[in-house]
């Protein structure tokens, strides 16, 4: 049911979709900065140095520039989430879609980490949508499902 809703939502948004999902993992043989910079390098033909500097600038917002040269397997859950978020935000006029974010950050109890992370790069994306199971509504502080 959730997969179908997600699929229907993303169907016409491929050009601007910034997906954060366990079904779109980081590329394991690339460093963190390359995973993020790849989007700009490929779509906007940004030179390597410029793309790297841009990536480091965004990582600095989270005080995570130290992870730039790490690989996926060396990241914590939160670090991985931030990298996936930054990668999604690199898409031009990005519509960020978070697909079941608590599967990426299982050690996080509520949505504060997610919203704080989104706040730090609020200038980098157009919209953000979160898709999750109804039984996680408490984690988002949602009382009435219909109203939300």
């Amino acid at each position: 049911m959730l997969d179908k809703e997600l699929s229907d939502f993303t169907a016409n948004k491929k050009q601007t979709l910034g997906l954060i999902s366990m079904d779109a993992p980081l590329i394991s043989n690339l460093d963190v900065w390359v995973n993020i910079a790849l989007i700009k390098q490929y779509h906007e033909n940004l030179p390597k140095k410029t793309a790297k500097n841009l990536t480091l600038h965004y990582l600095q917002r989270y005080r995570m520039e130290y992870i730039a040269d790490k690989r996926n397997s060396a990241l914590t859950h939160k670090e991985r989430f931030i990298v996936m978020l930054l990668r999604a935000a690199m898409v031009k006029d990005s519509i960020i879609v978070l697909d079941r974010p608590f599967t990426i950050i299982p050690d996080v109890q509520d949505d504060r980490f997610i919203y704080d992370a989104l706040q730090l790069i609020s200038d980098s994306f157009k919209e953000c949508h979160i898709f999750d199971y109804m039984w996680f509504k408490d984690r988002y502080g949602i009382i009435n499902v219909e109203k939300s």
Partner: protein, 261 residues
């Protein structure tokens, strides 16, 4: 008996389908090679890395193998030439044997063992880990970003390393020409230059390019045929490497036929 015939038929049909599939993939790649949009900043970065891993990292080992193997073979060939009284054909035999046959073949075997298996495993793992799907999600064409740099690297690496092998083998031949034939450096160089046929060099270049193209294309295609199970990775690598070695033999045979025309 019927079962045997059925099995032979099925194997033949599967092999034909595989061959047709490889050729179709090859034409797709060739068409993309001449499109400007293929060459993004990301692609160029991957290409440089691939050339480093394939050609530069292997240089010490490759140089040692070229000198040792090349020298030994040249020494044996020179001794046979002397014993058979074929000294006047020294240049032609060296150019024909080393430049056209030995250099491409030894180079492609080394690169196939090292790089083709790595590429095959890499693509299969990316398929299993859904990383190919990630690239598709972000509108990154896998042919442009993943396959093209690896295939172009294969072509460039085989050509360059084969040339290096030829140079090192022919240089070591200088020593043996002095020892066995009492030939000076000038005479030896003269013999080689007079025997250098433009047609041989063109055939050698085309052969190297073809080798480099298919020993990277076939593992990529094989990696893509992995399923989403981890156990499919070694199967994909096995099939890929068998097809690579069949391709090497086929290309070698075709080049021999071309040379004899």
């Amino acid at each position: 008996m019927t079962e045997l015939i059925e099995r032979i038929g099925k194997t033949s049909m599967d092999s034909t389908a595989t061959f047709r599939d490889i050729l179709s993939f090859a034409f797709t790649i060739l068409a993309r090679m001449f499109q400007k949009k293929t060459y993004s900043s990301a692609m160029k970065m991957v290409l440089v890395n691939q050339i480093y891993f394939t050609s530069v990292q292997i240089l010490p080992l490759f140089t040692a193998i070229s000198i040792i193997f090349g020298s030994l073979l040249i020494g044996i060939v020179f001794q046979i030439i002397k014993n058979m009284g074929l000294a006047e054909y020294l240049g032609r035999i060296l150019m024909g044997l080393v430049v056209t046959e030995l250099s491409p073949f030894i180079t492609v075997l080394l690169i196939a063992l090292r790089s083709s298996s790595a590429i095959n495993a890499e693509i299969a793992v990316m398929k299993v880990n859904k990383e190919l799907r990630t690239l598709d999600t972000f509108n990154i064409d896998v042919i442009d970003y993943l396959f093209m740099p690896r295939i172009m690297n294969g072509v460039v690496s085989v050509v360059l390393l084969s040339a290096l092998f030829s140079i090192l083998a022919l240089t070591s031949g200088m020593l043996f020409s002095k020892l066995i034939f009492g030939m000076s450096f000038n005479v030896y160089t003269n013999v080689l230059l007079k025997s250098a046929d433009f047609y041989d060099i063109v055939i050698s270049l085309i052969k190297c390019c073809t080798f480099g193209f298919f020993i990277t294309l076939i593992p990529i295609r094989s990696g893509l045929h992995a399923s989403y199970d981890l156990t499919s990775i070694p199967v994909a690598v096995l099939h890929g490497m068998v097809n690579v070695f069949i391709a090497i033999v086929l290309i070698e045979v075709l080049s021999l036929i071309l040379i004899s025309i």
